[in-house]
């Protein structure tokens, strides 16, 4: 026997409500995923070991072939000392270079004189876990390592907006 139409409507209503609750329950912030990366020496390291004594962490995705990425990291590098003095923030730069360029990552970052922690995500596992479409893409994590802010692409001066967000975590 066919279900009465009203019954169907009730089921639909419940489904819609519960699914919207499903989204609302998401109102809390997403925590940073746990994924294995490589250090520039080739050692495996899990992102759950990222620590900064309760201070904010910035995660920035880049690659040796990505010009806006280098511009962003250059810009942060120039004012990094001030940022650290004021907020204790730590910047972690994650390269998505594959085998074509992975051996060049450390010489490139060193040649640029970047003071950041550098890791390799050669298989894009972390990039995928964080739903990164294109680089540069930057995440700001609070003391609980929840993602409180993120930003894609880089225009000159974008680092100032990021710094405002970092200061909000104080």
């Amino acid at each position: 026997m066919k279900k009465p139409k009203t019954m169907k409507k009730i089921i639909l209503f419940i489904a819609v409500v519960s699914s919207s609750l499903c989204i609302m329950a998401q109102d809390k912030m997403n925590t940073f995923p746990s994924v294995n990366l490589k250090t520039v020496e080739g050692k495996t390291i899990n992102t759950s070991t990222f620590e900064n004594d309760g201070n904010p962490i910035v995660i920035s995705f880049w690659a040796t072939w990505c010009k806006p990425c280098a511009k962003e990291l250059d810009a942060i590098s120039e004012i990094y000392d001030d940022w650290q003095d004021e907020t204790g923030v730590k910047v972690i730069a994650i390269s998505i270079d594959d085998a074509r360029n992975s051996a060049k990552v450390a010489p490139y970052a060193n040649g640029k004189d970047w003071p950041f922690d550098i890791y390799l995500d050669a298989n894009s596992d972390l990039k995928r876990a964080l739903n990164v479409n294109a680089i540069p893409h930057t995440f700001l994590l609070n003391a609980k390592k929840e993602i409180v802010w993120q930003h894609t692409s880089y225009f000159d001066g974008d680092e100032e907006e990021m710094f405002e967000e970092i200061k909000k975590l104080q």
Partner: protein, 547 residues
């Protein structure tokens, strides 16, 4: 309908019960094509690729659900119809990727689709580059296990994605890696860090070939080593593949091998790296009759510089998987600020040299041609460089901040490009080109910046010279406007211009970009993968977002 209900209810109960994360991303590209007389891009000229649909779109969305030890996700893709220059297999729509993964006490299990890489990827890499339509994801089972600190084991069984289908071959693979300094107590304090790894990969495909008795199982193995001591680093990987007759190698029964070595020395302000590689008959696919980028099991990186300037991407190198050998050196140096040469803010220098040659190939005997089907193909002296040059390039980039507002970057690139071998241009042969680029970045006031690029490519071959200008205005953190023009001259054909206007809006993780103008024909490469794109004219909209 009931399926949708149960999915929604399941979804909400998941979130209540597990307190997990729901996240995802989205990208969509729309293009309206407009006829263009000068380019011959119109409906009357079927060879020009002008689409009957006039309007094409690509799009995808990923949705992922995570808790501490569990993750599941899916991707929906739509090509209605696929954009020009996109691999033609992408027509239609559907769920192309779905997986579930959990980890427990060092064991990590994935069922469904996954991407994976062993070592440098020269023996196995399943990878995606959505913007190029490259996706050879596995559909199967993957196990990862770490029995103790510093030891990592992986196993993979699966078939690979081919557009909206899967390849016929089954891939079985295992990989082990040990970080000696972490795994062996006696070595934890050692200055030299050593990591060793080894892989074995095998593919199975039935043999239905009427003329040859082909191997149904084709195995390959690889070993790799990474040594680090202070500022020095040395990495190497060697791969051997058993006989694997295929369409790409013209059905020869020769074994294949590849060697990749890279060394580097770096400290703050200075980096030097040297790479060498040799590839012999290493095209490896899970279906032997496939070509292009389809169903590749492995990845053979091109050891040449990956450029970002538009004119420097006109002649991109792509690995010749049947055989090549080459070298690359790169120097990255920052002249100290305050010094005479360095100026107030320091000066950056980036120099790169690379070359690629054929490998040595000799006839097996007088009656057998090199590469003749059904034979062992040829013999090759491992250390002998072949006679034909495929590619050579030197590039130098100098960047200097003049004052708080102005930064200048000058680039020179000199390229020798064997177009007959790399991209099969019949009449151009070796293309010799010289490129000069001058880029200026100027900060007008807080958050407002302007960037200009002036580029010139000079060559007597192929399409002749190119001149390009670009002006980009950005207002941080939301807006950008850009105008650019390419001018092709110094050839016997029509002199064409390719003007483009574009504008964009960014907010958080969402980005909208609109552009109107002409696109030159050519080979576009991103992440080592290339595709051929016809000349076109039109209006395009690109939207990306993530949550």
């Amino acid at each position: 309908m009931n399926k949708i209900f149960s999915f929604l209810i399941l979804c909400s109960s998941f979130v209540y019960a597990q307190n997990g994360n729901l996240s995802g991303n989205f990208q969509s590209d729309f293009q309206l094509y407009l006829e263009d007389e000068a380019l011959g891009f119109n409906l009357e000229n079927p060879g020009s690729g002008f689409p009957n649909e006039r309007f094409l779109s690509n799009g995808f969305a990923n949705i992922m659900y995570n808790t501490t030890n569990f993750s599941a996700g899916m991707r929906y893709e739509s090509y209605q119809n696929g954009l020009l220059g996109y691999p033609s297999g992408y027509q239609g729509e559907g769920i192309t990727y779905r997986y579930a993964q959990f980890s427990n006490h060092g064991l990590d299990v994935t069922v469904g689709n996954f991407y994976e890489q062993f070592g440098s990827g020269m023996i196995l890499r399943a990878y995606e580059e959505r913007n190029l339509g490259y996706d050879n994801a596995f559909d199967g089972i993957r196990l990862k296990y770490s029995p103790s600190k510093g030891i990592y084991l992986k196993s993979v069984v699966g078939r690979q994605r081919l557009f909206f289908n899967k390849g016929a071959g089954i891939v079985r693979a295992v990989d082990g890696e040990i970080s000696l300094n972490e795994a062996l107590v006696g070595l934890t304090q050692a200055k030299t860090q050593i990591i060793l790894g080894a892989s074995f990969v095998s593919k199975f495909q039935s043999d239905l070939n009427p003329s040859f008795n082909l191997p149904e199982n084709v195995g390959s193995w690889a070993s790799r080593m990474s040594l680090n001591r202070g500022r020095w680093s040395l990495n190497s990987e060697y791969v051997h593949k058993y006989n694997d007759p295929s369409a790409v190698n013209n059905y020869i029964f020769k074994t294949g091998n590849a060697l990749l070595m890279s060394g580097s020395y770096s400290k703050r302000g200075f980096g030097l790296s040297l790479d060498a590689k040799r590839i012999d008959n290493m095209d490896y696919r899970s279906e032997r009759d496939q070509n292009l980028q389809n169903l590749m099991i492995n990845y053979l990186p091109s050891l040449t510089k990956q450029h970002a300037y538009a004119l420097a991407t006109i002649y991109p190198y792509g690995t010749i998987t049947t055989g090549e050998m080459g070298l690359q050196a790169e120097l990255n140096y920052k002249i100290k600020k305050g010094s005479k040469l360095g100026g107030k803010y320091g000066t950056g220098i980036l120099a790169n040299f690379s070359n690629v040659y054929a490998i040595d190939k000799q006839q097996l005997n007088d009656s057998t041609q090199i590469g003749e089907s059904g034979t062992l193909g040829y013999t090759s002296d491992f250390f002998k460089v072949g006679e034909e040059k495929y590619f050579q390039e030197f590039s130098l980039e100098i960047s200097r901040k003049i004052n708080k507002k102005l930064k200048l970057i000058g680039t020179y690139i000199n390229t020798e490009y064997n177009s007959a071998v790399i991209v099969g241009y019949k009449y151009s042969g070796m293309i010799y080109s010289e490129i000069v680029v001058l880029e200026a970045q100027y900060k007008i006031k807080a958050k407002h910046s302007i960037r200009t690029e002036l580029q010139h490519l000079k060559t007597k071959q192929h399409e002749g010279n190119w001149l390009m200008g670009l002006v980009e205005y950005t207002v941080s953190p939301h807006y950008f406007f850009a105008v650019q023009n390419l001018y092709n001259y110094g050839n016997e054909y029509e002199k064409l211009t390719y003007p483009t206007l574009s504008a964009g809006y960014n907010k958080g993780t969402s980005r909208f970009a609109l552009s109107y103008g002409k696109q030159r024909a050519g080979i576009f490469c991103v992440g080592g993968v290339c595709r051929n794109v016809p000349a076109s004219n039109g209006l395009s909209l690109n939207i990306t977002s993530s949550f």
